[in-house]
C-alpha cells in the first residue's frame, strides 16, 4: 500500500511515469527475490507490480523466462499479506497464457477459493479459471458450481464472469451450470443478478426459442438490477431484429413497458432501443421520444447528453418525430456543456424549418470559438445537408461558412468547410458567385497547399464562365507572387484557362503568363511557356484540347513515358488530347519501343483511363458516414488488371490493345449448379467474352469447359479457349474470341450461349474423380452486345470547347419522341445507359421544376474516335421529346450513336 501511495505521489509531483524506463530483463531478474525466505511483502509487491506493468505494455516474454518467473511467483503463496496475494492472482492470470506448467497452482488456488478469506476467494476463482483448460475443467466443476451460488456477492460474481470466459472454449461444461446460474439470478445483489443473466443468455444464445422464453420469463417477474434490465432490453432488441418483427411483437411491449421503469438507466436503454429499431412507425416512436424529451431537461449533464445525442441520431431517420422536442432542444442551445449545445443545434438544424435557419445560425456563431474542431466538423456537416435541403438559404449559410473559414482551425476542419462550399457551388448555380468570392478570400491567407491548389483548380474551371471573369484573375495572380511552387503552378494553369476561354482576357493573360516564364521552379516555368505558346496560336481547337480539356493522365506518368520514347530516337509521337490511363500508356510505349517500326507512335492505341464510377456521386448524408461503403476506388485500375489477365492467355496475344472491359454480368442465377459471369472485352477489331465459371456441385468435376456462342449477323466466332478443369468451388475462366463485323455501322447483336463440358463424378469428401466422364451442356442466358460496349466514358470539363473542336463535319441530327418516359431524369438515365457516354458539366442533373433540359455527353468510340452528343430534351403531356445531335471524328461513329436510341 505504501508503495502504491508513494508511486501516486511521485506521479503527481514529477508528472512522469515511475515505470517508464523499465527493462524487461531486469524485472525478470528481480523476480528471483520471490524465492527468498522469509518473504518481504513490500519489496515483492513492488517487483510484481513492475512485472505486471511490463506484461501489460505488450512486451514479448519468452516461455522459459516466463516459466521461471511464474514458479518464483508461486512461492508467494506462503505470504499472508493481502495486497501481495491479490497482486499474485493478477500475475497468475496475466502469465497463464505465456508460461508453461501453470497447472501447478491449481490446488493452491482451489484451497483459496474454498477458504475463509473472502477477499481471496473471488480473485482465486478468476485466476483458477484462467489457468484451467477444458480437460482439467472437470476437476474444478464442483467448486465452480458451489461458488456460483455462494452467498458472498463478490465470489458469486467472480464465478459467473469466469464461467462466461470459460464458455468461449468449453461451452459443453458450462452448459451444465444452468441451474446454478438460474439460482444466482434470484440473488439480491444487483451485480450478481446482472452477471447471472449474462451467463444464462450466453449459454442459451444459440437456441432462439430458449432466449425468447428467457426474456418473457424475466420480463414478467421483476428483476432488481437495472443492469440486468438493460441487458434484457438488448437481448429483446436483438430478437426483434432477427425476427424482423415490428411493434406487434411481445418483445416490443416489454421494451415499451421499460420506459416506465424507475431507474433512469433502464428508461434510457429502452428509449434508445426503440429509436434504433428498423420497422417503427411514428406512433411507436412517440413514447420513446417523449422520454428523451424529459431527459433533456434533467439536471444531470450525462442524461442531457445521452438524450440529445440519441435525438440527433433519430433526426436522421425520423425528423418529424423529433420536432416535438424542438422547444427543449432550444433550451439546450445555451447549455454550459458545449458538447450538448452543439448536438442540440445540429439536431435542430436537421429538423428545423427554413425560417428557423437564420436564428440558429446566429445562435451557433456565438460559441463556435469555444468548441473543439471535432464538433465544428459536425456543425459543418449539418450545414452541408442544410444547403442541399434549402437551396434558397445559401446566402446565410455561405456567409457563415466564410466566417468559419476566417477563424482558426486545423486542416481537417478547413478541408470540410472548403468541400462544403465546393459542393454547394456545384449543386446550386445561384450560390456560385458568392462561394467563389469566399474561396478567393480564403486562399489569400491559406497555409494548406492542398486546399489552395484545389481551390485554384476550381477557379480555373468555374471562373471563366462567370459574368465577370476578370475579377478572379487578381486573386490568382497574387498566388503566383506569394506562394510556394506547387500553388504557383496551379495558379499558372488557372490563368491559362481564363485566357483560353475568354477572348477579351487573352492578351492580359498572356502578359501575366510571360512574367511567369522567369520563375525559379521548373514546373511553373514549363507550364507557363507551354500555355503562352498555345495561347499565342489563337486557335480555338488547340486551346480547347490542351488547356480547357487537357490530358487527364498524371503529368509525371506521361513525361516518363515520353522520355523513354525519345530515348529510343523515335520522335514521331502523335499525341492528341486523349484521356489515357497511365499504366496503359506505359505498356503501349514499351511495346512500341520493342518492335522496331517506322510508323509514328499513336496515342490512340493507348487504353483510356476509365472514368471512376463514383465521379458524380453525391456525398452521403453526414452522420451516416461509416455505414456507407467507400466509392469504387479500384475502378481505374480494374481495366488494367483485366488487360494483364488477358495478356497472360497466349491465344489472345495478337488481338491488340484492350479498349474497354464491361462490368461482370451474371448469366445464371447465383444459386444454380454452375454459376457463370460474363465480362465483355472490346478490342479495335475483336471482342473477347470472358466467362468466369464456378462449379457449385461438390460431387462433380468438370473438364474442358467452353461456352458455345451462336454468332449474330456479321459476327464471327474465331476461337474458343477452354478451361481445362473446374473442380468444386474453384472459379475458372474460359474465353470466346469473336471477330467484329466489317461493316462499321453494325455493332450490336444478341448471342445465345450454352455451357459445354465433360462431367466426371467424384467423391464429395476426397474430391477424387472417376476416370471416365460424359458430355453435358447447360443453357445460359443470352449475352447482348450494345453500343455502350464500344464506347469509353471520357469527362470533358469544358464541353463547348470540345464541341467546337470536333466541328460540324460529321454531324447528324434527329428528333425522337420517347413516349415511355414520364420524367426528364428517367429519360436522361436511359440515354446514358444506352450510349455509355459520360455526362459533362453536371448536365445529368435537372434543376427542379424545369420542363426542358440539355444533356451533354462525351466519350471515345472504339478505334479512338471522339464522340460527342448533345441531347435537347423537352417534357410535355405525351412524354419526352428529344433532339439528338451527334458529332464525331468519324462518320460511321455518328451514325451508330444516332441510331442507338431508336
Amino acid at each position: 500500500m505504501m508503495m502504491l501511495k508513494r508511486d501516486k505521489k511521485e506521479e503527481e509531483e514529477g508528472g512522469g511515469n515511475p515505470f517508464n524506463n523499465l527493462e524487461k530483463s531486469t524485472v525478470l531478474q528481480e523476480t528471483r527475490t520471490f524465492n527468498e525466505t522469509p518473504i518481504n511483502p513490500r519489496k515483492c509487491g513492488h517487483i510484481l507490480t513492475k512485472l505486471l506493468y511490463v506484461i501489460n505494455q505488450g512486451e514479448n516474454i519468452g516461455a522459459n523466462e516466463a516459466t521461471e518467473a511464474f514458479f518464483a511467483m508461486t512461492k508467494l503463496f506462503q505470504s499472508k499479506d493481502p495486497i501481495l496475494r491479490r497482486l499474485m492472482y493478477m500475475g497468475i492470470k496475466d502469465m497463464s497464457k505465456i508460461a508453461n506448467d501453470v497447472i501447478i497452482v491449481t490446488s493452491s488456488l482451489m484451497k483459496d477459493m474454498t477458504g475463509k478469506e473472502d477477499q481471496f476467494r473471488g480473485p482465486a476463482i478468476r485466476a483458477l479459471c484462467s489457468i484451467t483448460d477444458t480437460s482439467m475443467l472437470q476437476s474444478i466443476e464442483r467448486y465452480m458450481k458451489q461458488a456460483i451460488v455462494d452467498k458472498v456477492p463478490g465470489v458469486s460474481s467472480a464465478a459467473l464472469t469466469s464461467s462466461l470466459h470459460l464458455s468461449k472454449t468449453s461451452q459443453d461444461v458450462t452448459k451444465r451450470w444452468v441451474n446454478e446460474a438460474q439460482e444466482a439470478v434470484n440473488s439480491d445483489n444487483i451485480m450478481v443478478q446482472y452477471h447471472a443473466l449474462g451467463l444464462l443468455y450466453h449459454i442459451r444464445r444459440n437456441d432462439k426459442l430458449a432466449v425468447t422464453k428467457l426474456v418473457s420469463k424475466f420480463s414478467k417477474h421483476t428483476l432488481k438490477s437495472p443492469y440486468a434490465y438493460c441487458l434484457l432490453i438488448r437481448i429483446a432488441t436483438k430478437l426483434i431484429e432477427e425476427e424482423d418483427a415490428g411493434s406487434g411483437s411481445p418483445m416490443f411491449d416489454f421494451i415499451e413497458s421499460c420506459l416506465r421503469h424507475k431507474s433512469e438507466m433502464v428508461i434510457y436503454e429502452a428509449a434508445q432501443a426503440i429509436v434504433q429499431l428498423k420497422n417503427t412507425t411514428a406512433k411507436d416512436l412517440a413514447p420513446a421520444v417523449s422520454v428523451l424529451q424529459l431527459f433533456c431537461s434533467s439536471p444531470k449533464p450525462t442524461l442531457r447528453f445521452a438524450a440529445v445525442r440519441t435525438l440527433n441520431k433519430v433526426a436522421m431517420k425520423h425528423p418529424a418525430a423529433v420536432t416535438a422536442c424542438n422547444l427543449d432542444l432550444e433550451n439546450l442551445i445555451t447549455d454550459v456543456n458545449r458538447s450538448i449545445a452543439t448536438l442540440a443545434i445540429t439536431t435542430l438544424l436537421k429538423t428545423g424549418s427554413e425560417t428557423s435557419v437564420d436564428r440558429l445560425m446566429k445562435q451557433i456563431s456565438t460559441f463556435m470559438s469555444e468548441i473543439s474542431d471535432e464538433f465544428k466538423i459536425v456543425v459543418v456537416q449539418a450545414i452541408r445537408s442544410l444547403c442541399a435541403k434549402f437551396p434558397r438559404k445559401h446566402s446565410v449559410l455561405m456567409n457563415f461558412l466564410a466566417s468559419m473559414l476566417r477563424d482558426e482551425g486545423g486542416f481537417d476542419y478547413k478541408k470540410e468547410i472548403v468541400d462544403c462550399i465546393i459542393a454547394t457551388i456545384e449543386e446550386n448555380p445561384e450560390a456560385k458567385e458568392a462561394g467563389l468570392a469566399h474561396l478567393c478570400e480564403f486562399i489569400e491567407d491559406c497555409e494548406h497547399t492542398v486546399l489552395a491548389t484545389k481551390i485554384l483548380h476550381l477557379l480555373g474551371r468555374e471562373g471563366p464562365r462567370t459574368p465577370t471573369p476578370s475579377k478572379y484573375i487578381r486573386f490568382i495572380y497574387n498566388r503566383v507572387i506569394l506562394e510556394n511552387a506547387a500553388v504557383r503552378a496551379a495558379a499558372v494553369s488557372a490563368i491559362a484557362k481564363f485566357g483560353g476561354h475568354c477572348e477579351e482576357l487573352l492578351q492580359s493573360c498572356v502578359v501575366l503568363l510571360e512574367r511567369c516564364e522567369m520563375d525559379t521552379d521548373d514546373e511553373v516555368r514549363d507550364r507557363a511557356t507551354f500555355y503562352v505558346n498555345v495561347l499565342k496560336q489563337q486557335q480555338r481547337n488547340l486551346s480547347s484540347a490542351y488547356i480547357l480539356n487537357g490530358l487527364t493522365v498524371s503529368v509525371v506518368g506521361l513525361e516518363r513515358a515520353l522520355y523513354s520514347v525519345l530515348e529510343h530516337g523515335l520522335k514521331h509521337v502523335c499525341c492528341t488530347g486523349l484521356t489515357v490511363s497511365v499504366v496503359g500508356l506505359e505498356r503501349a510505349l514499351h511495346q512500341y519501343t520493342l518492335e522496331p517500326s517506322e510508323s509514328p507512335f499513336d496515342m490512340k492505341t493507348v487504353p483510356l483511363a476509365t472514368q471512376p464510377l463514383a465521379d458524380q456521386k453525391v456525398r452521403e448524408t453526414p452522420g451516416l458516414a461509416g455505414d456507407v461503403g467507400k466509392p469504387e476506388k479500384s475502378a481505374a485500375t480494374r481495366q488494367d488488371l483485366y488487360a494483364e489477365q488477358l495478356a497472360a492467355v497466349p491465344e489472345l496475344a495478337n488481338v491488340g490493345a484492350l479498349f474497354k472491359s464491361s462490368q461482370p454480368l451474371e448469366i445464371t442465377e447465383s444459386e444454380t449448379e454452375y454459376y457463370v459471369q460474363c465480362i465483355k472485352h472490346t478490342f479495335s477489331n475483336y471482342m473477347v467474352f470472358q466467362f468466369d465459371c464456378t462449379n457449385t456441385l461438390n460431387d462433380q468435376v468438370l473438364d474442358r469447359v467452353t461456352v458455345d456462342m451462336e454468332a449474330a449477323d456479321g459476327f464471327e466466332v474465331v476461337k474458343q479457349i477452354p478451361c481445362p478443369s473446374l473442380p468444386y468451388n474453384k472459379p475458372g475462366s474460359t474465353y470466346t474470341l469473336v471477330h467484329l463485323p466489317e461493316d462499321p455501322t453494325s455493332v450490336t447483336g444478341t448471342f445465345p450461349c450454352t455451357l459445354k463440358f465433360v462431367v466426371r463424378d467424384c467423391d464429395p469428401n476426397t474430391g477424387e474423380p472417376d476416370d471416365d466422364g460424359y458430355e453435358d451442356e447447360y443453357v445460359l442466358e443470352d449475352v447482348e452486345v450494345t453500343v455502350a460496349d464500344h464506347v469509353q466514358k471520357v469527362m470533358k470539363p469544358n464541353f463547348a470547347a470540345s464541341w467546337e473542336e470536333v466541328g460540324p463535319e460529321n454531324e447528324l441530327e434527329d428528333t425522337y419522341a420517347l413516349s415511355s418516359m414520364s420524367t426528364l431524369e428517367e429519360a436522361i438515365k436511359n440515354i446514358i445507359q444506352y450510349l455509355g457516354l459520360q455526362p459533362c458539366e453536371r448536365s445529368d442533373k435537372v434543376p427542379e421544376g424545369k420542363s426542358s433540359h440539355t444533356l451533354y455527353l462525351a466519350g471515345i468510340y472504339r478505334g479512338g474516335h471522339d464522340a460527342l452528343v448533345r441531347a435537347k430534351l423537352a417534357l410535355d403531356t405525351s412524354g419526352v421529346t428529344m433532339q439528338l445531335t451527334v458529332r464525331s471524328t468519324d462518320p460511321s461513329v455518328s451514325e451508330v450513336l444516332a441510331t442507338a436510341i431508336a
Binding site: 522469509p38 501447478i104 497452482v105
Partner: protein, 190 residues
C-alpha cells in the same frame, strides 16, 4: 529481515521460519500428514489428490515450518525441482504397503538426490514409512533396504514408521527434522 524480527527470535518469542518440501509418490499420504499438523479447526476432512502443490504452515517445538506439499502424480513430479533450491529439509513419504511401486519411489529419490540444486547440500531428509497399520505393510528397516537408503552418505537421514490417519510416529520424525535443521543453521552461523 528487520531488527525487531531478529530480536524477537533471539528472545525466543518468534520462531525461526524454515521451508520443507514434502514429496513422494501419489497416494502415499503427503497431504494427510501435513493435515495432521494443522491446528484442529482448520483441518481438512476430505483429502483429494493434489494438483500442483499446496502451501501449509505448522510449528514444531522450535521452528515454524512452511511446507510445500507437492503433488505426487506422475505428470507433476518433474515440477518438484522448481522448489529444491529454497528448501531447508525434505520429507519423503513412502507408502510402505505398496511394495510394487517401491522401485518407482527409489527412482524418484535417486533423481532427487542427483539434482544439481540438492547434490552438494547437506540437507536432512526425513522418510516416513507411512501406512504402517495396514497388514501388508513392510517394516521401516525393510523399507530402508528396499529404497537403498544406506547408500546415502552425504546427507543426514532418518526413517520412521508412521500412520498419518492417527498421527502415530509423525511427531517423532518431525522432532528429528527440527533438530537437524537447527544444527544446520547453527553450523552455518559459525
Amino acid at each position: 529481515m528487520g531488527f525487531f524480527d531478529t530480536l524477537a527470535q533471539w528472545l525466543g518469542v518468534k520462531k525461526r521460519e524454515v521451508n520443507v518440501l514434502v514429496v513422494g509418490l501419489d497416494n502415499s499420504g503427503k497431504t494427510t500428514i501435513i493435515n495432521h499438523f494443522k491446528p484442529h479447526d482448520s483441518k481438512n476432512h476430505d483429502i483429494v489428490p493434489t494438483v500442483g502443490f499446496n502451501v501449509e504452515r505448522f510449528t514444531s517445538k522450535a521452528l515454524a515450518f512452511t511446507a510445500f506439499d507437492m503433488s505426487g502424480q506422475g505428470r507433476y513430479r518433474n515440477l518438484w525441482e522448481h522448489y529444491y533450491r529454497e528448501c531447508h529439509g525434505v520429507i519423503f513419504v513412502i507408502d510402505s504397503s505398496d511394495k510394487l511401486r517401491m522401485v518407482v519411489a527409489k527412482d524418484e529419490l535417486d533423481l532427487l538426490l542427483q539434482h544439481s540444486d540438492l547434490k552438494n547440500r547437506r540437507i536432512p531428509i526425513l522418510f516416513f514409512a507411512n501406512k504402517m497399520d495396514l497388514r501388508e505393510s513392510v517394516s521401516s528397516v525393510k523399507c530402508s533396504s528396499l529404497m537403498g537408503l544406506d547408500q546415502i552418505r552425504d546427507k543426514p537421514w532418518h526413517i520412521c514408521a508412521s500412520n498419518a490417519v492417527t498421527g502415530e510416529g509423525l511427531s517423532e520424525g518431525v522432532d528429528w527434522l527440527t533438530d537437524q535443521i537447527k544444527d544446520l543453521i547453527e553450523s552455518k552461523k559459525k
